[in-house]
């Protein structure tokens, strides 16, 4: 058990990678064995993430050095700096890891019956597991170059999944847009990494954070990194790929691609808080993040209201919700250099933003799955053609109501808790931002009222008389997320104190991240 905990940072990445390449081999033998392998892998990953999380909350940051003679040997003999690949898992990384693993598990279970009628399913599961590898690797790595590599793994598998249903022309278009913006973004990130290497001859995040000077070149690198990661997480005005890609990706993978973009949000804040930290002019970059966040919230939600394609509507809401996280964490970033303001409201704003990441991953994942269930059962994504579906699909409509109430911030659901934390703390930073956030929440409710009214209520339409409820595995996938949402709604204090606040402190406390690798040199 102890050995499992020590090796779990790499096992979490390596086991899905191994399983990803075993699936094509095993599916030649038996399709059932392959499905069992995929689900078992993801359950095991979830288990590893949870035991790793428990250990991190008890003992602190976990370091894993690949290829060394001991996992904690970060700096080899005769060297002054770390040269090996190092995985560094702190409370923030593991927080994102739990989200990724949980959503992936629910999505894979949901996919089991959803993908029954598709061809090339062994490739589908390979890509799905590779996406899990990309997300978890991006979250656990302690190395700028590996961040780029995992970002590319995530992008390639995500794009291939989005374009998986090649019989639809729009699926290919969505996938192509995703891979183009990902390729350009990732190359720009590589350029920024090259700038770091040119100045400091280092790639390790902790080692770089120790020596970074915030020179002119570092400013350019920061601008490139922030923009490229903002594009990957779909912040306005770089959000336009998101509705195209999210709306065409097959069910199950839509929440995963969304969570993958949240992993890029994590990377953005890892760069801002840990790599640059207080050396940079935090107020400026904080305000830039806040402005991107506010724009995302407002443009995302106003575009969502006028959509008539249910998955595009959901995708624009995903953009809008990312704005809340950018707002909360941006306020924290803006006051990072000011300890009094940070203690008074900055830390709470960050906690709100981080809590919103997990809440949003859950209910947005659930809503994406319900939207895809409608598409699966009705064969259309057009809200104008739907109506009266709560007669045929009782469970789906209940799941949709819960998700819609949670995303609109209606008490007592979990979305309300995190939004309340953001409103209160941001109000003390700048009241106007808080008012905009509340306005956006109201429009969110309005747009989900519209979606619910057009899809589920109203008289039974004759063309959908024979529509049946979705298959069991799809209901189990959605039910899993619903149960977690209800748990989070009932016990927000437990979640905030056990997993959210440690994550916030891990982001703020740059010194402990550096010391974990550099050993206080």
């Amino acid at each position: 058990m102890h050995a499992l905990v020590i090796h779990s940072p790499i096992l979490v990445i390596a086991i899905p990678l191994l399983a990803a390449f075993l699936t094509p081999l095993i599916s030649r033998v038996s399709e059932k064995a392959r499905d069992i392998l995929v689900i078992a892998t993801l359950v095991f990953v979830e288990f590893l993430v949870i035991i790793l999380a428990r250990d991190i909350y008890l003992t602190g940051i976990h370091i894993y050095t690949l290829g060394a003679s001991s996992p904690s040997l970060t700096i080899p003999e005769h060297y002054m700096v770390p040269v090996r690949i190092i995985l560094e898992v702190d409370a923030m990384s593991i927080f994102m890891g739990i989200i990724s693993a949980t959503v992936s598990l629910a999505a894979a279970i949901y996919s089991l019956s959803y993908m029954k009628e598709e061809t090339g399913r062994d490739m589908y599961y390979t890509l799905l597991l590779l996406l899990v590898v990309g997300m978890l690797g991006l979250e656990f790595t302690g190395d700028m170059f590996n961040l780029f590599v995992f970002l590319e793994i995530l992008s390639i598998s995500g794009a291939a999944l989005a374009a998986f249903r090649t019989r639809f022309a729009d699926a290919l278009e969505g996938g192509f847009k995703y891979i183009v913006i990902s390729a350009v973004g990732a190359l720009i990130i590589l350029f920024a990494i090259g700038i770091f290497y040119a100045q400091y001859n280092l790639l390790n995040i902790a080692a770089l954070a120790q020596v970074i000077q915030y020179t002119m070149l570092d400013k350019i690198a920061l601008a490139l990194l922030v923009t490229a990661l903002a594009m990957k997480l779909a912040g306005v005005p770089l959000h336009m790929w998101a509705p195209d890609t999210y709306s065409v990706a097959p069910a199950g993978t839509t929440p995963m691609i969304y969570v993958a973009s949240q992993a890029c949000l994590y990377a953005l804040f890892r760069v801002c808080f840990t790599l640059y930290g207080v050396t940079l002019n935090t107020a400026t970059i904080g305000w830039i993040v806040i402005i991107i966040g506010v724009l995302s919230m407002f443009v995302g939600v106003t575009m969502a209201v006028q959509q008539s394609d249910i998955k595009r509507l959901m995708a624009y809401h995903a953009i809008s919700q990312s704005g809340y996280m950018l707002l909360g964490l941006g306020v924290g970033l803006a006051v990072l250099a000011n300890p009094e303001a940070l203690a008074a409201y900055g830390r709470e704003a960050m906690s709100g933003g981080i809590f919103h990441i997990v809440n949003n991953a859950l209910y947005k994942g659930l809503l994406f799955l319900t939207a895809e269930t409608l598409f699966y059962c009705l064969g259309t994504r057009d809200l104008n053609k739907m109506g009266g579906m709560c007669r045929n699909m009782k469970y789906t409509s209940i799941f949709f109501i819960i998700g819609a109430l949670a995303i609109s911030g209606i008490p007592p659901f979990n979305g309300f808790t995190s939004k309340l934390m953001i409103y209160e703390s941001v109000y003390r930073f700048n009241p106007i931002l808080s008012v905009i956030a509340m306005l956006v929440s109201i429009i969110t409710l309005a747009s989900f009222t519209k979606a619910f009214q057009s899809a589920f209520t109203g008289p039974a339409l004759p063309q959908y008389r024979n529509v049946k409820e979705a298959p069991n595995s799809m209901l189990i996938g959605m039910g899993l997320l619903t149960i977690i949402i209800i748990f989070f709604s009932l016990f927000p204090g437990l979640i905030v104190n056990t997993i959210v606040n440690p994550a916030t402190d891990a982001l703020i406390n740059q010194a402990s991240y550096i010391n974990a690798v550099m050993g206080g040199l």
Binding site: A14, L18, F21, P24, R28, G67, S70
Partner: protein, 153 residues
């Protein structure tokens, strides 16, 4: 299918290209080269065959799913080798000191010794397998698809 001259020349050249690719894979731990480079050279030999003989004729001998199996096994071998060192650390070079590729050369100038570098040559072979399969299947599938478009038009 191209003219007889092209076919004859490519018949002569292909074995040389393939052998050079395999050499680059096998000696990757000593000389410039390695799994990806050698695999790319090998796949360019297959691309030459496809260009000379047409994708349909090649597809009769080389099926896509064979490549798929080869690619997956390459990846599985690679990760399996990385898992081999898990007793110490993932990716630990557990073959150092053993009789297979385990010889440790003295530092500084020394005559070349093939049996060095531990798991690295084995990993080169695994990566080589994967790259050969991956690049060949990409070229083959694209050639097949583009020839189909030409036939349709």
């Amino acid at each position: 299918m191209m003219s007889k001259i092209v076919r004859t020349i490519s018949n002569l050249l292909t074995p040389l290209i393939l052998i050079f690719g395999l050499y680059a894979i096998m000696h990757g731990h000593l000389t410039p080269g390695g799994g990806f480079q050698g695999g790319a050279v090998f796949a360019s030999g297959i691309a030459l065959l496809i260009v000379a003989f047409g994708s349909y004729n090649i597809q009769k001998k080389l099926k896509e799913h064979h490549f798929s199996i080869l690619e997956s096994s390459g990846a599985v071998i690679f990760i399996g080798l990385a898992f081999g060192g898990i007793a110490t650390v993932f990716f630990y070079n557990f073959l150092v000191g053993s009789s297979i590729f385990g010889h440790i050369p003295p530092p500084g100038s020394n005559p070349g010794d093939i049996w060095t570098a531990g798991i690295i040559p084995l990993m080169n072979i695994a990566v080589g397998l994967k790259v050969i399969a991956g690049l060949s299947v990409i070229v083959l599938v694209m050639a097949l698809a583009s020839s189909k478009i030409e036939i349709e038009e």
